[in-house]
């Protein structure tokens, strides 16, 4: 067992536990985005940062990847953490302003104004889909290409994958693209239909043909029967 202090409270947890899990155990909320139970820790969105250490050595680390250490002092909601978290959220909001998940997080963190230029990308490269596909579905159909601002996500050569079983797991775990529905325009990733409150899947009635795993639709919450 390893004993550490989170926000002044002492807690003993098993070796290998992450700071996130330890904090959740004590009931301290930490927002997460790229983290998902059942998938390997990833540490990309940086929303879950917490402050460790003291004095000039204090620093921010991603709680979803950082393992507990004996005697560590952790602050999950210091001014520094909250400021950093807020700005990371603003950056995420700037890249993906149409994501409901990010909007909700932003609103929960009292972000009322957008300082950054908006991008309208449909992916925040959180990698949940890639890990879902590889770790839970064992398909390895999608992955990352390129680097830096050009880093992107897709199937090899952007062609129809021969190993994809169309389980939909990737879309299911995606925090950014609940709006992604490729039925009407397969060549376009986002149809935007749900955003316009005209869900094409329900209106056009071919719910069954699509074998949509999302029933009810995670975007518009309308189910096939209704």
């Amino acid at each position: 067992m390893i004993t550490l202090t989170i926000n002044g409270l002492e807690v003993s947890v098993e070796k290998g536990t992450t700071l996130l899990e330890a904090a959740q155990f004590l009931g301290f909320p930490i927002p997460t985005l790229c983290h998902m139970e059942g998938l390997s820790p990833y540490g990309a969105c940086r929303l879950c940062v917490v402050e460790i250490g003291e004095g000039p050595k204090a620093r921010l680390v991603s709680s979803c990847t950082y393992p507990v250490e004996e005697g560590l002092k952790v602050r999950t909601a210091s001014a520094r953490v909250l400021n950093a978290r807020k700005m990371v959220l603003e950056l995420l909001l700037a890249s993906c302003p149409q994501s409901k998940t990010i909007q909700d997080l932003a609103s929960a963190h009292a972000i009322r104004q957008q300082r950054f230029r908006q991008e309208y990308e449909d992916c925040i490269l959180c990698g949940r889909c890639v890990r879902m596909c590889a770790e839970q579905m064992m398909a390895n159909a999608i992955g990352f290409r390129g680097r830096g601002a050009k880093r992107s996500l897709g199937t090899p050569f952007d062609a129809k994958s021969e190993v994809c079983r169309q389980c939909g797991g990737c879309i299911y775990v995606c925090p950014a693209c609940e709006l992604r529905c490729t039925y009407t325009e397969p060549e376009k990733a986002i149809c935007g239909g749900c955003a316009n409150l005209a869900p094409p899947c329900v209106q056009k009635d071919p719910f069954d043909d699509m074998m949509c795993y999302m029933n009810p639709c995670v975007a518009c919450e309308i189910s096939q029967e209704s």
Partner: protein, 604 residues
């Protein structure tokens, strides 16, 4: 499917035992053979090494030297670093554009020559420089660029462009390069003469724990930039549980303006390998890897030869120098154009045949590194120091340097100065003294530690070069009167944006926004509050990024904001009309005007 492609690719895979972990070498081999790694090749590789196709594509698309589409037989890679720009690389570029009829990123219609613009290739002391396939060409002018194209068009053999060789080993039959060493000031430790095999012999005469103690007594700190105490790192690794241990030498030397490792690998390769061997003994490792940046491929054959000779002389291999049971060997792993692979966990990813994305820390490499085994990653110069410490004893090493930073340090100095090159100095020397050595006393600004370091102004020239004051992995870039500090910062931000791996949000998204705002300010469209914006965003990127690249990437802006604030202040102006200068109202209401078919009453 082309049969020859299939046969060759499969052969290359077999040459590497169809080992997925050797993906870098396999892809490098295919790229070298065909000039590209296309879909078919990726498919074939994936099948041969039994990896998902997406993993292979992911690797190919990560590294700058791999290309999914055909490149010319010859690729000219012109360095776009700030130093090269200051020395007129634009004129050479123009000559290439004119003679080839193509721009950067393009290939001539006959498929013969490609032109690319790349970050620092480790030749800032001989700028402007370019790599023509593997062959470095230095001190380019408009005329020499014209000549190069004319010659290439006749023989297409880059090696034939080398008319005279540089000094020292650069003329070795296995290197044959025009690169000059420019060793301006050899010092008492790193460049001093050394008896081959002596250090290893001394190390083997004491116990591994005593070797580590010697390194600790010498108070050696890593020369790659971060300055972590080497002895402690080794101790962690030695104590870590693992059936095997690995010694990795970081010869990625990607920090713009650094070129001292290039010179060490050319002139002191034996000393580097001896240091790695000593580390192998101290840690109980049997295998070492030298991670050599793709830009230094021209040194590879030579280095392989040095390794072969060492094996022949009993300095590598089984029972080294007769010590029963001490086996150690070294292989060279080529990089392929990615600055991030100098970060130690990325370097490990790359050695494992993966994308160069850094890994989450902890666990640190000393606990869980290459292939999951405890590993030590050290800089080329660090290993040179190790050899010297074992040969001469820690005391003679400690004689040099300052309290927290013992020994000597190699500096790579380039830019506006009379004698650019490599200088071995004692730690604790002031920046002003350094500038005098290189003939750059009139510098108005000095970038210490490369883009990830800081740009300092003359008021800091009295500060000391050491880990506790002005730290540097070796890069010192000097800027003379008339240079524009915002241009410098802009150039460095471009570098980080290009070289970020794109994994985490702050570094991927934030740096682009930083650079945009900086450009707006430089163009006179900034207002005073933008300086706070830069500061806030920069600090958040620093504190929340996942690896060292992101954690230092805002430094060009943060250090100029601190040391050259007046430059910014002169450019920004409060908005008079109540509109943000960065906001273009006419563009914003353009569509509304078109739809309604009338002008705005307020914004004419």
């Amino acid at each position: 499917m082309s049969q020859s492609l299939q046969d060759t690719v499969q052969q290359i895979c077999r040459d590497h035992q169809n080992d997925r972990g050797r993906l870098m070498d396999i892809v490098t081999g295919v790229q070298a053979k065909f000039g590209y790694v296309n879909q078919q090749a990726i498919d074939l590789i994936a099948k041969s090494v039994n990896a998902p196709r997406v993993d292979v594509e992911s690797v190919v698309s990560f590294y700058a030297f791999f290309s999914p589409t055909p490149k010319g037989k010859v690729t000219i890679r012109l360095c776009n670093d700030i130093i090269d720009r200051m020395h007129g690389s634009a004129r050479s570029a123009q000559a290439f554009f004119d003679d080839l009829g193509i721009g950067f990123g393009e290939t001539t219609a006959d498929g013969m020559i490609s032109l690319e613009s790349v970050p620092c290739i480790g030749l800032s002391d001989q700028a402007p420089a370019a790599l023509i396939n593997d062959v470095p060409v230095t001190c380019l002018t408009s005329d020499s660029a014209h000549d190069i194209v004319a010659e290439l068009k006749t023989h297409m053999d880059p090696q034939k462009l080398v008319k005279s060789f540089g000094d020292g080993k650069n003329s070795d039959p296995l290197i044959r390069s025009m690169v000059r060493n420019n060793i301006r000031q050899p010092g008492p430790i790193i460049f001093s003469p050394c008896v081959r095999g002596e250090a290893i012999k001394k190390a083997l005469s004491i116990s591994p724990a005593e070797v580590i103690r010697a390194i600790k007594t010498a108070r050696l700190r890593g020369r790659g930039g971060a300055g972590f105490p080497t002895g402690i790192k080794w101790e962690f690794c030695r104590a870590a549980e693992g059936d095997r241990k690995y010694v990795l030498c970081n010869a990625d030397e990607g920090e713009p303006g650094t070129f001292k490792d290039r010179v060490l690998l050319t002139e002191r390769a034996d000393r580097v390998f001896a240091g790695m061997t000593i580390a192998g003994y101290a840690l109980g490792a049997e295998e070492g890897i030298l991670y050599l940046r793709g830009e230094y491929a021209y040194l590879r054959t030579y280095l392989e030869d040095v390794l072969t000779k060492r094996r022949g002389d009993g300095l590598l291999g089984k029972d080294i120098l007769g010590k029963k049971g001490f086996n150690f060997d070294i292989r060279i792993q080529m990089g392929a154009g990615a600055y991030i692979c100098g970060e130690e966990t990325s370097l490990i990813s790359s050695c494992e045949g993966l994308r160069g994305d850094p890994k989450n820390r902890p666990p640190f490499p000393a606990q869980k590194g290459y292939l999951g085994y405890p590993s030590v990653v050290n800089n080329v110069e660090t290993f040179c120091c190790v050899t010297k410490i074992l040969e001469l004893g820690p005391a003679s090493f400690n004689e040099h340097g300052s309290a927290g930073s013992s020994g000597t340090k190699l500096l790579s100095i380039a830019g506006d100065c009379t004698t650019p090159g490599v200088f071995e100095v004692d730690f604790g020397i002031t920046l002003g003294e350094v500038l005098k050595l290189a003939g750059a006393e009139n510098a108005i600004a000095v970038q210490v530690g490369g883009p990830s370091g800081q740009l300092v102004s003359p008021k800091d020239y009295g500060r000391k070069i050491c880990f506790d004051d002005l730290a540097t992995g070796g890069s010192i870039m000097t800027f003379g009167p008339g240079r524009d500090v915002l241009k410098i910062a802009q150039c460095f931000m471009e570098f980080f944006i290009e070289e970020s791996c794109g994994y985490c949000t702050p570094c991927r998204v934030g740096n682009v926004l930083l650079k945009e705002r900086l450009e707006q300010i430089a163009a006179g469209r900034g207002q005073p509050s933008d300086l706070d914006y830069l500061q806030d965003l920069g600090e958040t990127i620093k504190t929340t990024s996942r690896c060292g690249l992101g954690q230092t990437s805002p430094n060009p802006i943060l250090s100029t904001l601190k040391n050259f604030r007046e430059v910014y202040e002169k450019l920004v102006r409060p908005c008079e009309d109540g509109l943000l200068p960065t906001f273009d109202i006419h563009a914003a209401i353009g569509q509304a005007k078109r739809i309604t078919g009338r002008e705005s009453v307020v914004f004419k």
